[in-house]
């Protein structure tokens, strides 16, 4: 099964009509006929229409999307999974929502930094345009502000790590709660600061919001020992940290040694595949496809199968959506995020984040 978007919130009467007409439309649904006229009308999966693609920096764009049905809502800091049809293939990616959850027009936005050899981000930067249809999946994420928000806040971000924090800042501004907020943000140079103008405007407008921009090309990277200079009372603040893994790891350690780890909230963008202990790998037997292949301890089962030319189901490719699961018939697998080795006969394993640990058989 290929991953499907979230089930949209539609009036009960609409669901009733879809069900009532099933006798006329079987084996299809009313949806299958209506979506030919407007794909946003689907009651099976939530879709959205790109309203605008706006350049933030030379390498980042903000994509504003109008959901086809009422947006189920999100909390500032959460992310959403989106499906993009690119060159005929649907690709799923998770992006932080950068829009204020209570936006009056009901639209949502994401802000995406272009990865040159990527698939989705160059598509958004160069090809996506108003009218492009995307699929929206469920909102997820624990990196959120409590309600009411803490009195003293510290945001630390680097690069595109600013995206969930922007949503929080917009939310705080709307609620008139930008009273004691410090934001330390690191980017290569002034032009590379995503939301640079908006952050500077906030600083000008609110006495309670202080922004420090660390332009790493001239000032070097932010280091944990700089914290005392940048924000003397950092130990007292509830902190939200979002950025690349090395920055997070360094600051996390600093909080453990010198601060209160309870006050630190972290958003990791890349799952840490391969950073966990890797194993020996082994022989994978794809039982249904009648194919076998030998792989090292860092190659996910999904990737190994694709290299052999198998058409395997996949969604997020990062262990979230469970689209790629296969039933283990024998052997053990290693979770590439945690290094944990597990597996028993009949267990469903996510092939995108698991490598074989010795010989395995999987019903795919």
């Amino acid at each position: 099964m290929a991953e499907r978007g979230a089930r949209p919130q539609v009036p009960r009467i609409t669901r009733g009509i879809v069900r009532a007409t099933q006798g006329l439309t079987t084996p299809f649904e009313l949806d299958d006929y209506l979506e030919q006229f407007n794909p946003l009308w689907s009651t099976r999966e939530l879709r959205g229409r790109i309203e605008s693609v706006d350049r933030e920096t030379a390498t980042a764009v903000t994509v504003t999307i109008k959901p086809g049905h009422d947006w189920p809502g999100h909390r500032a800091g959460q992310f959403v999974r989106l499906g993009f049809d690119i060159d005929g293939v649907r690709h799923w990616r998770a992006y932080s929502l950068t829009s204020d959850p209570d936006r009056a027009d009901g639209n949502i936005s994401i802000t995406v930094k272009t990865v040159e050899d990527g698939v989705v981000s160059p598509f958004l930067a160069k090809e996506a345009e108003p009218g492009t249809i995307v699929t929206l999946s469920n909102v997820e994420g624990e990196f959120v502000l409590p309600d009411p928000p803490p009195a003293k806040l510290l945001f630390i971000s680097a690069g595109s790590g600013v995206t969930p924090i922007m949503s929080m800042l917009r939310h705080l501004e709307r609620d008139h709660r930008l009273n004691d907020v410090v934001h330390l943000h690191s980017a290569k140079d002034e032009g590379d600061v995503i939301f640079g103008n908006q952050l500077r405007r906030l600083e000008d407008a609110y006495a309670g919001f202080r922004l420090h921009e660390q332009h790493s090309s001239e000032m070097g990277r932010m280091r944990p020992e700089d914290l005392d200079d940048l924000c003397a009372n950092w130990r007292d603040r509830v902190t939200y940290l979002s950025g690349p893994a090395d920055l997070i790891d360094a600051l996390e350690e600093h909080w453990e040694e010198h601060g209160d780890p309870e006050l630190l909230n972290i958003e990791r963008f890349q799952i840490k595949l391969g950073e966990a202990a890797t194993g020996e790998g082994g022989l994978i037997r794809f039982m249904r496809s009648g194919c076998e292949t030998d792989v090292d301890g860092e190659t996910p089962i999904l990737v190994a199968g694709e290299k052999e030319g198998l058409e395997l189901a996949y969604g997020c490719r990062e262990g979230i959506c469970h689209t790629c699961v296969g039933e283990l018939s024998s052997g053990k697998v290693r979770d590439l995020r945690t290094g944990e080795v597990y597996g028993s006969e009949g267990e469903m394993v996510r092939t995108c984040i698991s490598a074989p640990e010795g010989e395995i058989e999987i019903s795919l």
């Binding site: 099964m1 499907r4 079987t26 084996p27 299958d32 099976r44 049809d85 194919c291 189901a313």
Partner: protein, 390 residues
């Protein structure tokens, strides 16, 4: 695709290959077809996706238009136009869309609806049972007597090497019935009655299949013969007749195209011994000479689900159907180079051969018909049919 097929040439050097090819040639043929497959799959993209989306949209709109016209089917012109439109919609859905989607031809798009794991089609068979009997049994054991249950569908003698039985005397009649009610025949065939009788199929599976078919049958029946007629008000009887007619038209068309795929005289059948421990190249050759194409216009190919390219479909069942016509000349070129036949012919000729075989083999006896000699390009004097007997 890396499948578990034997590649060690020594293993097979003692056996004669069906077309008098050497072991090395067979291996080279396997490689060439594999490369052709991989080349097309590396090229799939926007153009293909646009095609299937457009065909699905066309099919849905035709279905809506046909059903809409039939609400007024009491007027003969509306009846005629509505029935014709609905028939075409049903044909497109079953052949160019349903059959091909359920083969996994569009799975590469990673689309949740246009996917072999989620598609269900507008016919009596359940997708699950059909995928087993067709994708697995028929496409794996193609034309192997005793294993390919599509060879005569277990009710007809279609190859002289199948032993005769008095029941076959009536096969011209079964054939006509099957033609008219093909979708029901296919649904029953998917049950694999032979395996049920031989107690090879677990009862749990039989029960599950029966429940699946009866559920599907009920829904299909209610749609065409209760719901839409009721909605048509005073046109109810004529709408019912129209839906019945559209189903028959679709059935006759599907039956004709599908029977022309493997039953014309040109197609070879195989014994189980011949196919033991097949190499990749041998499998490709069996698929190649076990199938026959139908010549036709692009419109004909769309309406037949591109099964007029049966040879290409049997070489690469999971390749998007639109690519079959494109690779046709290259498959032919490979045939020419290795001295293999490339079976094809106009619809009337292929159909005549099929029905002649069904009539003749109802009676005992019968001999294999002569098979075509290697393919030769038209400009080199056309295809010659030599009286070479297998």
């Amino acid at each position: 695709m890396a499948t578990e097929v034997r590649n060690d040439s020594e293993l097979r050097s003692d056996r004669e290959h069906p077309m008098g090819l050497s072991v090395d040639e067979v291996e080279a043929i396997g490689r060439e077809f594999q490369e052709l497959h991989d080349e097309v799959f590396a090229d799939l993209g926007e153009r293909d996706a646009r095609y299937i989306h457009a065909i699905i949209a066309l099919q849905r709109n035709l279905a809506l238009a046909g059903r809409g016209m039939l609400l007024f089917s009491i007027f003969p012109p509306a009846w005629l136009a509505g029935t014709a439109t609905l028939s075409v919609a049903k044909i497109l859905e079953n052949m160019e869309i349903g059959h091909n989607v359920m083969h996994g031809q569009w799975d590469w798009m990673n689309h949740p609806d246009i996917h072999s794991s989620s598609w269900d089609w507008d016919t009596a068979s359940t997708s699950e049972a059909w995928k087993h009997s067709h994708n697995y049994i028929h496409h794996t054991f193609t034309n192997i007597r005793g294993k390919d249950k599509d060879l005569g569908y277990e009710i007809m003698r279609i190859d002289p090497e199948q032993p005769w039985h008095p029941a076959y005397l009536l096969q011209p009649l079964y054939n006509l019935l099957l033609m008219a009610f093909f979708e029901w025949g296919v649904a029953l065939h998917d049950m694999d009655i032979e395996a049920v009788r031989a107690r090879e199929k677990p009862w749990k599976q039989v029960w599950k299949d029966l429940k699946g078919i009866s559920g599907k049958a009920r829904r299909q029946f209610i749609k065409d013969y209760v719901a839409w007629p009721l909605l048509s008000g005073i046109s109810a009887p004529t709408t019912l007749a129209a839906n019945f007619t559209a189903n028959i038209v679709r059935n006759v068309w599907a039956h004709s195209i599908i029977f022309c795929g493997h039953f014309p005289d040109q197609c070879h059948t195989f014994s189980e011994e011949e196919c033991e421990d097949e190499t990749l190249g041998e499998t490709y050759i069996r698929q190649l000479i076990g199938a026959a194409n139908i010549d036709g216009s692009p419109l004909f190919h769309v309406l037949s689900g591109n099964l007029g390219w049966q040879v290409e479909h049997h070489l690469f069942p999971d390749m998007p159907s639109t690519r079959y016509g494109e690779i046709g000349p290259r498959v032919r070129e490979i045939c020419e180079r290795y001295g293999l036949p490339y079976n094809t012919g106009p619809l009337w000729q292929q159909l005549a051969m099929v029905h002649r075989t069904i009539l003749r083999l109802a009676l005992p006896g019968g001999k294999p018909r002569s098979k075509p000699s290697p393919y030769v390009r038209e400009e080199d004097g056309g295809r010659r049919v030599a009286p070479s007997r297998r």
